[in-house]
């Protein structure tokens, strides 16, 4: 690229001597007039790279120039010309929308004469004009994100750096943000958009794919996706359990990767491999294999050498649960209010045994509030949350021993070692003597934790943290498993491994309730409840929800399309009509 705004050459950055480098020899360019995606799982080095571009970090080796200035040594010149929105948007929450804008206008030296025009333009652009007097802390996630963007845009920067702008934001706001960013790119601004959502990569003009500090790919996303063209198929018309079909398919030679997509199974094949015959993987007489358009994630997994196998050692160790026809988990009119704010309103659903049930929604929608009421961690203002017919709030320890719980961000004891965490949780769940030892040893073996046993949980790589958290949640072989945002930000391989375990456990009769804001993850669920602004706006299988919005405008809707359409149909589109959301996400 001749007109590159940013040139990075052999960048290396370490935090702490013992830790692996956050960036390891990255050479890349960022062009003007386009959206460059900085794509990769958490811990890949996205934020480090963005901060280096913003002159907020100095590289250890290599160099980085922005508009020809050395970003580390001439950072003042760089700061004059860039707009930067850090994670959490960099807003002063106790300042109003207008005061935030004014502050950024002043510190960026926007001439007073231009101010009125600039504010009008940005407020119109972001749709925030009616909310100028509202405190930033009282805005919804989507509105905060737009205000953050407006503040970063106040002087029309030539380079706009956005660090994970779409995390936890509802799909409508996410789409609006994309539209705005597209407009900016068309005006000639170079936009850098970092994200852990692989589906967002496809919307970028160019992508820098990072994994463990290394640049795996740089170029247009279609180029990477092209690697797997013709190698992606869907098994459709499956009779019986699609989880078993996936497991068997992943056992076939030549199948690199596979995921569940609603009632279908999606497979990525090795080069020159033939797709498996549906009947050989037990898909039933009517099943067919049809080609599917490749996705960025398929290609990423391919670059990483394929996904893990489909057999869960964990589930293999578990005993099958006795079958029962009764609903295992039930919510009846659950409502929770915090002061004047209703975090969850009249939430009702019932989950039969052996089902994966998902609560899907943006941050602040009320997922976690509902979830905590189900687990007995939060007292409902009204309504009932029942597990096995009893409320966990009142249930004795015995009933609680039947559930497993994996909290958001894997709440492990960070300063305890892996072994101590396992010992602690086995004790908490009342395992003793030989059973305890067997359970702990089994988890160490199953999750390959052996080499990390004496490491403290805080310094584990994200993937191992997640394994350890799952191990701690299931070592007592619960019949019901609650998972709160279980695979947020982890790499696709770890995510597949995780779902292999979950699928295996479900086949053994375990009932699973999961919250997520990942559309892809929701595809693994048998049924999902769409949660938006404290209410369930739809319940159904992923396919039913997609079917429900199919039309001329949307011939082949994705789950996100379905979510957006259902929100709009619900008459609750974004525009901030609701009161301040967000306290109790």
């Amino acid at each position: 690229m001749s007109d590159a705004l940013v040139r990075a050459e052999g960048l290396v950055k370490r935090f702490g001597r013992a830790a692996p480098p956050a960036l390891d020899g990255v050479t890349a360019e960022i062009g003007a007039g386009m959206v460059t995606g900085l794509v990769g799982p958490d811990g890949a080095g996205k934020t480090t790279l963005i901060r280096l571009m913003a002159g907020l970090l100095a590289p250890e080796e290599g160099g980085i120039t922005v508009f020809g200035f050395d970003a580390a040594r001439e950072s003042d010149a760089v700061h004059e010309r860039i707009g930067y929105m850090p994670q959490k948007f960099g807003l002063y929450e106790d300042l109003s929308v207008a005061e935030n804008l004014r502050l950024y206008a002043e510190v960026r030296g926007l001439p007073a004469a231009e101010r009125a025009a600039a504010f009008a333009r940005l407020l119109g652009f972001t749709g925030l004009a009616p909310f100028t007097a509202r405190l930033a802390g009282r805005l919804s996630g989507g509105m905060k994100q737009k205000l953050g963007l407006a503040c970063a845009m106040i002087r029309r920067p030539q380079l706009l750096l956005l660090d994970e702008p779409s995390v936890g934001v509802d799909p409508l706001s996410r789409r609006e943000l994309w539209r705005m960013v597209r407009e900016l790119a068309e005006e000639g601004i170079g936009v850098v958009w970092s994200t852990a959502y692989l589906d967002e990569a496809e919307g970028c003009d160019r992508v820098l794919l990072l994994s463990e500090g290394r640049l795996l790919f740089s170029g247009p996303p279609a180029e990477l996706t092209g690697r797997v063209r013709g190698r992606v198929v869907q098994v459709r018309g499956i009779a019986g359990g699609r989880r078993a079909v996936l497991r068997r398919a992943l056992g076939k030679p030549g199948v690199l990767d596979g995921v569940i997509q609603g009632r279908h199974v999606r497979l990525v094949l090795g080069a020159d491999a033939q797709p498996p015959v549906p009947q050989e993987i037990g898909a039933g007489p009517e099943a067919v294999v049809v080609p599917a358009p490749p996705r960025f994630e398929d290609a990423f997994v391919d670059v990483l050498g394929g996904g893990p196998g489909g057999v869960s050692v964990l589930a293999g160790r578990m005993e099958g649960k006795a079958r029962s026809a009764a609903h295992v988990i039930e919510a009846r009119g659950l409502t929770k209010t915090f002061g004047g704010f209703t975090a969850a309103r009249e939430i009702t659903f019932a989950i039969p045994q052996g089902e994966i049930f998902g609560l899907l929604g943006p941050n602040g929608a009320g997922k976690s509030t509902t979830f905590k009421m189900m687990c007995g961690l939060l007292t409902p203002s009204s309504g009932q949350a029942l597990v096995d017919g009893v409320s966990l709030l009142e249930a004795p320890g015995l009933a609680r021993a039947r559930i497993g719980y994996m909290a958001q961000k894997f709440s492990l004891y960070g300063t305890l070692s892996v072994r101590q965490n396992l010992d602690f949780f086995s004790g908490v769940y009342g395992l003793t003597g030989a059973r305890r030892k067997a359970a702990v040893d089994g988890m160490i073996e199953t999750f390959a934790l052996g080499p990390h046993l004496s490491a403290s949980a805080d310094i584990l790589p994200l993937g191992f943290k997640q394994r350890l958290a799952l191990a701690c949640a299931v070592m007592h072989e619960p019949a019901v498993l609650f998972l709160d945002e279980p695979t947020s930000g982890v790499d696709p391989i770890t995510r597949r491994e995780f779902w292999t375990h979950i699928n295996g456990m479900v086949e053994k009769g375990v009932t699973i309730m999961v919250t997520t804001h990942f559309m892809d993850e929701a595809e693994y669920c048998d049924r999902i409840a769409l949660v938006f602004r404290g209410r369930v706006i739809a319940i159904g299988s992923p396919d039913d929800l997609k079917e429900g919005v199919r039309g001329e405008a949307l011939p082949d809707p994705s789950l996100e399309d379905a979510f957006v359409a259902l929100v709009e149909r619900d008459g609750n589109g974004d525009g901030g009509k609701s009161a301040a959301p967000g306290e109790a996400a």
Binding site: Y84, L91, E106
Partner: protein, 374 residues
């Protein structure tokens, strides 16, 4: 307006708005000074009154009765009279009385011999050494007064064992409040200056706003100065609240002038703000910042400033250490201003000490105020 000045003003305005809207700043800035001043005024009074003692009257002679009446008459003691020391034994153990005065059966006989020995016994509760000393001294005082009166009535001179004519300068009534309350103002300003500001930079790191600001043309001097000015004004406001309560509620005399007080306090506030900002920039985390500012600012100011405990009585290493505490100089200035007046020969060296500390701390804070994240 030059851009740097615009940026400085913008940050000051922002900081001011945050102070006004944050209930905790109002709490620490205005409510806490009132509370602390009232607390130190009412609770840390070192003057003793109404100490409960037991008076054991084993002798029923008129002389013994008359001495007992003297004990009952003084406000220093709350005296209960008994006939047997066993009556008070349990109260002594439980602390319901702080001492016993025993007037023995031999009292009137010993009194008649009238030598220099005191013919009665004082038993004090050594569990509270200060109070014990007080009980002993005051019991002796009552005895001397009684002897004097008796001698006068009998037309004789009573020869005191030692003739003491105490003459106290500056705090004539020896009111401990008159030196405690000015010292309390130093504690207040330390809290406002260091605790409040320790939180502000750390908060910006936690909320990610610091990162956003670092990516703008804001320089670290502007960042720092933009925070110092509003908190300086807040601290000055708190100073006058403390002053008003001290003068109006407790009626402590103030012999200095307001401009001198402001000058001295300004220098001190700068050092407190410097400490707070330095902690805050180094900690980047509100919890650690709050803990460190209590440890590094509040406790040294409390123990080493001379507010309650006089540093001259401390071991040499601690005395040396106390010179690194700005509050020490400030307490000394405040006592001077309240009890003596604008005595510049005393104020200036102390102001110099504070100014040096302020420069060092602000310099460190400026150095720690990052232009980069790591």
């Amino acid at each position: 307006m030059p851009p740097a000045l615009r940026r400085l003003l913008a940050i000051m305005v922002k900081e001011g708005l945050q102070i006004v809207r944050d209930p905790s700043s109002i709490l620490i800035g205005f409510i806490l000074p009132v509370f602390l001043t009232l607390l130190s005024g009412f609770a840390t009074n070192l003057d003793i009154k109404g100490v409960p003692i037991g008076l054991v009257l084993e002798d029923a002679s008129p002389e013994a009765q008359s001495l007992a009446a003297s004990f009952l008459a003084t406000t220093a003691f709350k005296t209960r009279v008994g006939r047997d020391r066993r009556e008070f034994a349990e109260d002594m153990v439980s602390g319901r009385v702080r001492g016993m005065v025993v007037i023995p059966q031999t009292f009137s006989r010993d009194l008649a011999q009238a030598d220099e020995s005191v013919p009665f016994q004082v038993i004090a509760d050594g569990g509270e050494p200060n109070t014990a000393t007080f009980v002993q001294n005051y019991a002796q005082g009552v005895w001397f007064a009684w002897m004097e009166t008796r001698a006068r009535e009998g037309g004789r001179e009573f020869a005191m064992p030692v003739n003491l004519l105490p003459r106290t300068w500056f705090n004539e009534e020896l009111l401990s409040l008159a030196s405690l309350l000015p010292g309390g103002m130093a504690i207040n300003l330390t809290l406002i200056g260091a605790l409040l500001t320790a939180l502000v930079v750390a908060r910006e790191w936690e909320r990610g706003t610091m990162e956003a600001m670092l990516a703008t043309p804001v320089g670290r001097f502007e960042m720092l100065a933009g925070k110092i000015v509003p908190y300086f004004l807040l601290g000055m406001g708190a100073l006058f609240i403390c002053l008003w309560i001290t003068l109006a509620v407790f009626g402590i005399p103030f012999r200095g002038s307001i401009p001198a007080l402001m000058a001295v306090s300004a220098v001190f506030l700068l050092s407190a703000l410097g400490l707070g900002l330095f902690i805050s920039s180094a900690a980047k985390n509100q919890f650690v910042a709050a803990q460190s500012s209590i440890l590094a600012a509040f406790l040294p100011a409390y123990f080493l400033s001379g507010y309650v405990f006089e540093p001259s009585g401390m071991p040499l290493p601690i005395r040396i250490l106390s010179h690194a505490i700005a509050a020490r100089y400030y307490v000394s200035c405040l006592k001077t201003l309240f009890l003596v007046g604008d005595e510049w020969s005393l104020l200036l060296p102390n102001m110099g000490g504070m100014a040096i500390i302020a420069c060092v701390l602000l310099g460190l804070a400026l150095k720690k105020t990052a232009r980069r994240i790591a």
